[in-house]
Symmetry: C2
Subunit: 457 residues, 2 copies
């Protein structure tokens, strides 16, 4: 009986003491990130000196060189450039979208941005009547007779009742992605989409689209207009169904380019062929600075490498910061990373992505496979003092899809979502929109999680 | 045995069903606040049409009239103006603070703002050498010999390692509050304080100070300089200990003015003499628009009145939105509210204050007295879908101090704190710094809590 009683007490003691050791380590990690971290100055360089860096662009190539240097400076013992071929879409001249109605005496430019991967109109542009729809079902009901020769206007709002703004994005993004192909199916000459945004302003939001040849073989030009422009267009249509919109875009897809993932590593002291990674994507849309999307994720990932020097410890497993290439329009980097991991027989025991902006952390979404969720859930009390409360089931990121297929348990970092879609894929996604402490708190949360994963996995 | 087994099952069923009813009510409340609430447009009016509204000012008087109207519009059946005498301090002409050093060839204005309640220098200003200290202890050690005739410069930074920025504020605000009196005690002719801020920018932060006659009977002028100005002053002092600073302020304290708390009520259907209140403060500093501090709290409090119409229910208890007067420099409104409550024998069963900015909600701090914390803790799962996770022990607000003394259990609303002290008490506390959805989510959290308190208290 005595023995049975002693065992739990002994375990309690170990557990308590362990928890205290970890608490002290987390406090050190947070103190470092909130006072000495370089993530903010790194982000300033990436956003303002390099700027928007779409795959295949000279800026993306500069970002690769910069990331390699930044990873060595952060403490990587090895930096690997993983080659991958990426699409090379170029916007060309600034897009035009003009609303004219003789009846309403309107001749007004609408703030617009062409969607990534789309074809251009050529210099003569396209002028056509507008048919407004709220869904693909409505488009189908209207049919070719009412759509042919027109521009389809997908006027779909974000559902503001979602607390996570990402849920509203998830519901509406299909009109950006497949709207042009569905429009072309019924003979439309182009498509326009209301910007995917939770704020009623005049910014146009770009993003990727794909011509789905199973829907239509015809590629028509497509662009997004701002929330306010969409309001004006919709209101004007009610008063003049025959109004015209002129669109002119200069986009082209050039041959694929060679690019790279940048992988900074601190080699593990005990299990060097077992890997824990944190990544963001290095490419960004060309119309902004790619600050929140995903400069913040890149600098937060690089910053995990600094934890070990700070604490004066060596990781057991190999720790990698990954700057993935081509998340925005192709996922070539994510695919290449998984391909190399498989070829080299690298065992990945966990992978985290940070690609939701550099806002105040709320928590992590964690895969339930291989017990990872159960493990991370045990650390709730360790993270509570830092306001990182939500350990939810299921997580990852677009760059990790290919790794997930190799059974790697994944984690998605979740910051506050309220302001993300105000600036997402716009000219406003600039360095000044990132708050230093919010960014650092995210870095600290991720750094602390990677530290614990290495210790306990 | 069967009976014993049945009882828990029956309880489970009731509890589950109750929880479901409450979940549905909360969803309705949130849907309303995220799509139809007027809190954002109300805030726009209060911030941009009325603007900064220090107690005793014409703007504060306008705000009283506005709040009364807004409360009726929100659904109050009664709006009471509670009179209170408030201090009437005026800033006068824009302050000046100038750094000169012949040795360093510097003659540079420093961004500055006089502290509320302080005396002016008169039009001739004061020019003196500077003695920099990091604490009152250091000041005491230096003693009168080294301080006499100089201006004391309290160069104390926010401790950035706190996750809650309010903790750093709590540590440093004493230099703003009592710094002038301690400086005068040792013969200084004035005092300057590094702005209470977590961001390294050029904004000067005002706030209240008090001449503590138990420390010194002499009143010397005092002002705050920006973070960057404090850096420059401190760096310059290292190179030229004899540099001079000129300060000129035009502040005056005029006779007390009559002002009001504005109290909007929906009278309870079952217990009309039992009150549940939510309040913010109507007054604000004069140098900004008082948007986050505390326009957001006022409009969020007013907005609780709309819940009942929305849900089509009547509250059991009397529900009050309170716009307190004079939180910033006197608490006359909070004192008056408690005095009236006592005189009229009004039973207050809970009181909430929202005075920490209109940022994304994190939770509530709840008094442990009279079981309130235990009650609110039961609703954690109801609030979890809305990312309102932290129900912590202890809460309230400055305007509720007098009510707490009457044993009213109090609650403080806690939004995210990261950006609050960037703009707190500065010219940058303007409407454009408030995010619509963040504000609305705060309103919804408060509205939902008041709804549950009325139902279950």
């Amino acid at each position: 009986m005595k023995l049975f009683k002693l065992i739990p007490i002994f375990f309690c003691f170990v557990s308590f003491s362990q928890n205290k050791t970890d608490s002290i380590a987390l406090k050190s990690i947070y103190n470092y990130y909130l006072t000495k971290s370089k993530c903010y100055s790194n982000l300033e360089y990436l956003s303002t000196k390099i700027g928007g860096r779409l795959s295949g662009s000279p800026q993306a190539a500069q970002a690769v060189i910069w990331a390699k240097k930044a990873m060595y400076e952060a403490g990587a013992d090895t930096v690997i450039l993983q080659p991958c071929m990426v699409p090379h879409w170029v916007r060309g001249k600034k897009e035009k979208c003009n609303l004219t109605s003789a009846k309403l005496k309107i001749n007004k430019p609408l703030n617009c941005v062409a969607l990534g991967n789309c074809v251009g109109t050529g210099p003569k542009g396209i002028s056509a009547s507008i048919i407004e729809v709220k869904s693909f079902e409505e488009l189908e009901k209207l049919g070719a007779e009412k759509i042919k020769g027109k521009i389809v206007f997908y006027n779909v709002f974000f559902d503001q009742t979602h607390v996570r703004t990402g849920s509203a994005y998830g519901e509406t993004v299909k009109y950006r992605g497949k709207g042009a192909s569905y429009a072309a199916k019924y003979g439309a000459v182009g498509s326009i989409v209301r910007s995917m945004t939770s704020v009623a302003d005049d910014e146009a939001h770009t993003g990727n689209m794909n011509y789905d040849t199973t829907i239509s073989k015809i590629k028509v030009p497509t662009l997004a207009i701002s929330y306010k422009a969409a309001d004006l267009l919709s209101e004007s249509l009610k008063k003049d169904a025959d109004l015209k919109v002129y669109i002119e875009t200069d986009c082209k897809t050039l041959p694929d380019e060679l690019s790279y993932n940048v992988v900074g590593q601190i080699t593990g002291s005990e299990k060097p062929n077992e890997f824990i990674i944190a990544g963001g994507h290095l490419d960004s849309w060309d119309n902004g600075q790619g600050a929140h999307d995903d400069g913040t994720g890149v600098v937060q990932s690089i910053e995990i490498l600094t934890v070990y020097k700070t604490l004066g410890v060596k990781p057991k497993h190999s720790i990698r910061a990954v700057a993935f290439m081509n998340e925005e329009n192709g996922l070539a980097g994510g695919d290449a990373y998984a391909k190399f991991a498989k070829e080299k027989n690298e065992k990945h025991i966990s992978a985290l992505e940070t690609d939701a902006g550099g806002f105040t952390p709320r928590g992590f979404g964690v895969d339930t496979t291989f017990g990872l969720y159960n493990l991370v859930s045990k650390w709730k009390s360790l993270f509570a003092p830092y306001f990182v409360e939500r350990i939810e089931k299921g997580g990852g990121g677009a760059d990790l899809i290919a790794l997930e297929k190799l059974n790697v348990p994944c984690i998605g970092f979740e910051p506050d979502t309220q302001r993300y879609f105000d600036i997402h894929h716009t000219a406003q996604d600039t360095f000044d929109k990132v708050h230093k402490r919010e960014l650092e708190l995210g870095s600290a949360a991720i750094g602390a999680l990677i530290y614990l994963l290495d210790k306990y996995q």
